[in-house]
Symmetry: C2
Subunit: 243 residues, 2 copies
Amino acid sequence: MDFKAAAPVGFRPLYLQVREELTRYLTNGRWQPGAMLPSEQELARELGVSQGTVRKALDAMTAESILVRRQGRGTFVPELEEGRIMFKFFRLYPDKGERLFPVSKVLSSQLARAAAAEAAALDLKKGATVWRINRLRYHGERIMLRETISLSADRLPGFGDLAAIPNNVYRLYSERWGVTIVKIAEKLKAVAASPADATELGCKEGMPLLRIERIAYDLNKTPVEFRVSHCLTETMHYASDLS
Amino acid sequence: MDFKAAAPVGFRPLYLQVREELTRYLTNGRWQPGAMLPSEQELARELGVSQGTVRKALDAMTAESILVRRQGRGTFVPELEEGRIMFKFFRLYPDKGERLFPVSKVLSSQLARAAAAEAAALDLKKGATVWRINRLRYHGERIMLRETISLSADRLPGFGDLAAIPNNVYRLYSERWGVTIVKIAEKLKAVAASPADATELGCKEGMPLLRIERIAYDLNKTPVEFRVSHCLTETMHYASDLS
DNA sequence: CAGTGGTCTAGACCACGTA
DNA sequence: ACGTGGTCTAGACCACTGT
């Protein structure tokens, strides 16, 4: 590594360079989900920096939930088991009672030309091919939402060959293509249920629905997934914490 | 201070104790908004810990936006000028175009007995007295939302004596009562416009509105404000970033 | 130039989990 | 008992800001 070659101008802190190097190891598969990283001391030796500098990089990554550290055990690449990533990026809660595991039912899955909104969200050329999945999701017996997921066919090749699309797609992206979702941007609105919404969700046309437009980004800040959800919020709410 | 008296059990890191002490200085008014804190070295001497420990406490507080640090200048208590705190906790954006400064119009302001929802949100006894403010807010010429703000009359005494309620109430809480809002929890739903909503917002009854229930907490994590907003989201959206 | 926060280092010791 | 991350210290040097 050309660490420490930093000139006074265009200065870039060492720990950020270490952070980038470690991120590289994650994207190129040196450490798989669930794996334990070498100790701080070992990493420091390997990268030719001090242990404190490695620590600062690891702390930054921990703050972003890219890594998990446990005192006395070690530093780990997070497992994407159901129930962790599921709830991490899933902000819908029942107004009362236990949070149940969402259940999904795929309605359709097909290849299509990217619409303007999809191309803009995924940073694709208009007309590029995308996978488009329609599905319903339930909270217990109760239907919760209807959503369309759009994916770049180039970035996730062979997506359509899958026999089934699992409930937790982010785990799938990771296991199948090594794509780790770390950041999500959502835009929320209240909209009236369209005829199609009414049919699928079993509600009246015009019923107020929470519309969530989501763009999911991977470790390299590349947009990977675009998703539009229409949610019934009579007994559920979306939680947002600001600080 | 009884720093360093920590026994092996019930262990509490030094930098957290420092953090608490500094937070105390903020709540008891030693440092007002806009003030510059002593340098890390001075604080370290004053508190009898090392500069690195002070730094760790300051970093934690900076991460929460309780303090602001600027290289070469110093560490400051954030000013609550319009446009900073305003936008910090305000997640509504226009779908296109510039973000304008919200304008508020107070409809009513009165003392009342806390309803169940207010008492629960503000952690008050049912029937305690609260200030209840109704107002409208505009994005440019366009009406954006209608909201009711509920405040514990005990915690913000004399609120009703104010000649006018400013647009930026969080600045007011800080300047008048030394109450700094640092954390906000919101619950979002889509609801149909009630007759009252329709009248105030100039929309049809039944129009889908984004309902935002907010609880605002101060430095001590005490709930200070409960607010319910009903927003028109035809040309606006609520932005939420998860990571 | 002086003073501030920001980075980096090196080393000591502590708390935690596991064997 | 051992290895891990977590805390704490002390000191050097760098980058940024204002005088």
